[in-house]
Subunit: 466 residues, 2 copies
């Protein structure tokens, strides 16, 4: 394949590609909010149309119990390896919206980056292989391998429909290797290959005291306050150092090998600049592990939200009837999401203060952790593509985030998933002022051209090997 | 005074009085919410007009830094005792509004009670002496003593302007005894005389971790989570039994005498029915004290509200940048509100987990506790009035709530405050579905007629004695 011609095409098409991505980002496809259902459907329709204009002969928007899945298939010829490109067109909520410097759904370029909700996670990232496909089609007529596309609209709520979808459409999705356009590079100067990710288990805890809100002056001191009880319960889920104290939480965790720790230590990590970048004075977490280990290969229990009682201006002397918290756990290989949710339930039963009743609800979004074999030939192919674009060998990393699809594809379809995405961890994914560096987008499109080429030289059998 | 004639007048005027009170309750005078500023002003104007129609010769709406004060004066003649009637025309916020069976500002009579925000606290209660004044005026031509009225619009936010107002208008407010139309009876069948109330100290704690919200998968496990830190900090403010563990919190608390404890034990308190009424399985608090003592004469620290991170539907895997809590403490005699706020600040400085910064802000609403001398002749006069209406002697109680005015009047004007109000603790003050029993309103108006009469037989000097 003529990668120089493809690169030239990409340079020429850059403005049009950016305009298109901007149009995609304008669609407020927040999967978590029922009021945005239509916007999610609109994003799916936009994406399907874009796959068609990229030349994909077969494109379908397939319904699920939740948001639809956009499917595409470009079968070039039998015998070529088939790759299934995964991404998600839904985005995170945008609150607190007041902290955005430009509105989250009005994409804005400044300082060499595109700012918008979803700029990196994952609209910009999934648009990257599509732009690369334009270049391949225009310069070579057709891709050098068979392509399938699987773009879901529920990744940000834990992909509840993806498992059932995969089980019902096994033939449609059959491939030799999956490639994820969701994920990220270590930083803008350091190419990396993600070989694993953490799993997820999510619950909500609802605490209830008295039947109604009460006057704190009349009842305070004798009637249990669900905020006090919830605070005590939540405080008891970590020790002072930040270890999780939920009974059984670490039971299934594989010991970290010295080789694992050396691999992680290869990635530069400067405590002081990390803290300075985030604006915190100190870090927290298991003291037996480095911060880099804590955020990637160790499991966590994080309270994502809490609320109860009066939150307005001034004071309201209320003894509230209810208090609530949302918790997600990041899991590592061998931890079972349901067992972890059960451990939290047992902890709540055992330690919930008297006089307050607790309900624990499990959210459907859950996933096991994922870890790719280190000798998989796809990793070598990807490493060549990255070296060609970045000028240096990628480091291998395990990321702390969760991509339920890796577990679902491995378990459901028996294929490995190669992460190939070009955002960076500082892109403020899930936070205000999310952005995607234009240079990263450009490197990503060129790298995808090279990945298609490198994978096309492997046999389907090699890609399927474990 | 002909109390039978006054009673007859009150029976005849009942429907008109209820209509008027309903009109008053329709005004959404929520002092805590800036958006309700005009409604608060409208309630003040309504009340001033009502004092005029009651015959009060001098009525003024006086500005403060916050909401206005409604002042009235009916000087019958020199030599008579002068009483200053206190009440507040502002009301609590109404959230959660979904739990109201009828809208909070559409007063509705059902089951012999008037349901509305402020029905008891305090519009219905302050309207009671005004209705009594109608009866006295219509049957005796004028009240038997000199009257002044002091109705504020900031009680529910801690009366921040009342102190400055009292300091600036000492001559206007001069009287021999104050009578509070804010407060309550023990229950609908048990007349009571409130001789004391708890004070108040209020703070907000703001916790901040990283500069922005972060992806919990990318940063969870190493970056301090302000919700975790706040939960740990708040959990550490009570022990497992419910004693406050903030250092120095109990330092100034007077020991409870055996006589005090006997007086409190005279009031019937059934643990099981108390719990059943509130819908809680067990009570909490200092085990060395009875529940009745805990809610009246012991100090408390209550978290009134907490919030941080994601509170919407579903899950959002965010590691939030901020978390917040609102706290009010109920204080007993000799505790200083500023010293207690300082103790909380010191506790936060000492125990706030590392990596999260905490700010403690003091709210302007604060008050010392109040306790009236047990031999004050006003108490005997009030007891006679209550016995005449209820048919039995009142019990003396110290209430758990806070009426900043008692401290302000005692300290600022040197007069004692006699509580004379006819709501009951089960009226859901500060909660959804607040109500005022029509029978209690009726008893209240008749009792006020008798109180005016009984106090008019005392000398100004006797009422001023400590």
């Amino acid at each position: 394949m003529n990668t120089a011609a493809a690169d030239a095409y990409l340079r020429k098409a850059r403005d049009r590609h950016l305009e298109e991505l901007t149009a995609f980002l304008r669609i407020a496809s927040v999967s978590a909010l029922p009021a945005h259902k239509d916007a999610v459907a609109q994003a799916a329709a936009w994406l399907a149309e874009r796959l068609r204009t990229a030349g994909t002969p077969e494109v379908r928007v397939l319904p699920t119990a939740g948001h639809p899945i956009v499917y595409g298939r470009w079968h070039v010829r039998d015998g070529l390896p088939t790759i299934l490109i995964y991404g998600h067109y839904d985005v995170q909520p945008v609150d607190p919206v007041a902290l955005w410097e430009s509105p989250p759904f009005e994409p804005t370029v400044r300082d060499g980056a595109l700012f918008a909700r979803g700029a990196t996670d994952d609209k910009g990232s999934l648009y990257t292989p599509i732009a690369a496909l334009d270049a391949v089609r225009e310069t070579a007529g057709a891709p050098p391998l068979n392509l399938k596309f699987l773009f879901e609209g529920e990744e940000e709520i834990g992909s509840p429909s993806l498992g059932p979808f995969i089980r019902e459409h096994r033939a449609l999705l059959e491939a030799d290797l999956a490639v994820s356009a969701d994920g990220s590079m270590l930083d803008a100067a350091t190419p990396s290959l993600t070989i694993g990710n953490r799993g997820l288990s999510a619950v909500q805890i609802d605490a209830r005291g008295a039947r109604t809100d009460l006057h704190s002056g009349v009842y305070g001191g004798a009637v249990p306050n669900p905020i006090h009880a919830l605070a005590a319960l939540l405080a008891g889920m970590h020790d002072a150092q930040g270890r999780v104290t939920v009974e059984g939480f670490y039971d299934e965790v594989r010991p970290l090998s010295d080789a694992d720790r050396r691999e992680i230590a290869r990635v530069p990590f400067d405590d002081a600049s990390y803290r300075a970048q985030l604006g915190v004075t100190s870090l927290t977490g298991e003291p037996e592990y480095t911060p880099a280990e804590r955020v990637t290969v160790r499991p966590t229990l994080e309270i994502n939200g809490i609320w109860g009682g009066f939150q307005g201006e001034g004071i309201k002397t209320v003894l509230p009837a209810e208090a609530h918290a949302k918790i997600t756990c990041r899991l590592v290989p061998d931890q079972d999401p349901d067992r972890i949710a059960g451990a939290i339930e047992a902890h709540v039963r055992r330690h919930g203060p008297a006089g307050v009743s607790f309900t624990v609800s499990r959210f459907p979004g859950k996933a096991r952790a994922y870890l790719m074999p280190s000798n998989h030939p796809g990793l070598a192919a990807a490493a060549r593509a990255l070296k060609d674009v970045y000028g240096k060998d990628p480091v291998r990393v395990r990321i702390g985030g969760t991509l339920p699809v890796s577990d679902l594809l491995r378990d459901g379809l028996g294929m490995w998933l190669l992460f190939f995405a070009f955002g960076e961890p500082d892109n403020r994914m899930h936070a205000p002022n999310e952005f995607f560096r234009l240079a990263s987008f450009e490197r990503g499109t060129r790298a995808y051209v090279r990945l298609f080429d490198a994978l096309s030289r492997l046999t389907p059998e090699a890609l399927r090997a474990s």
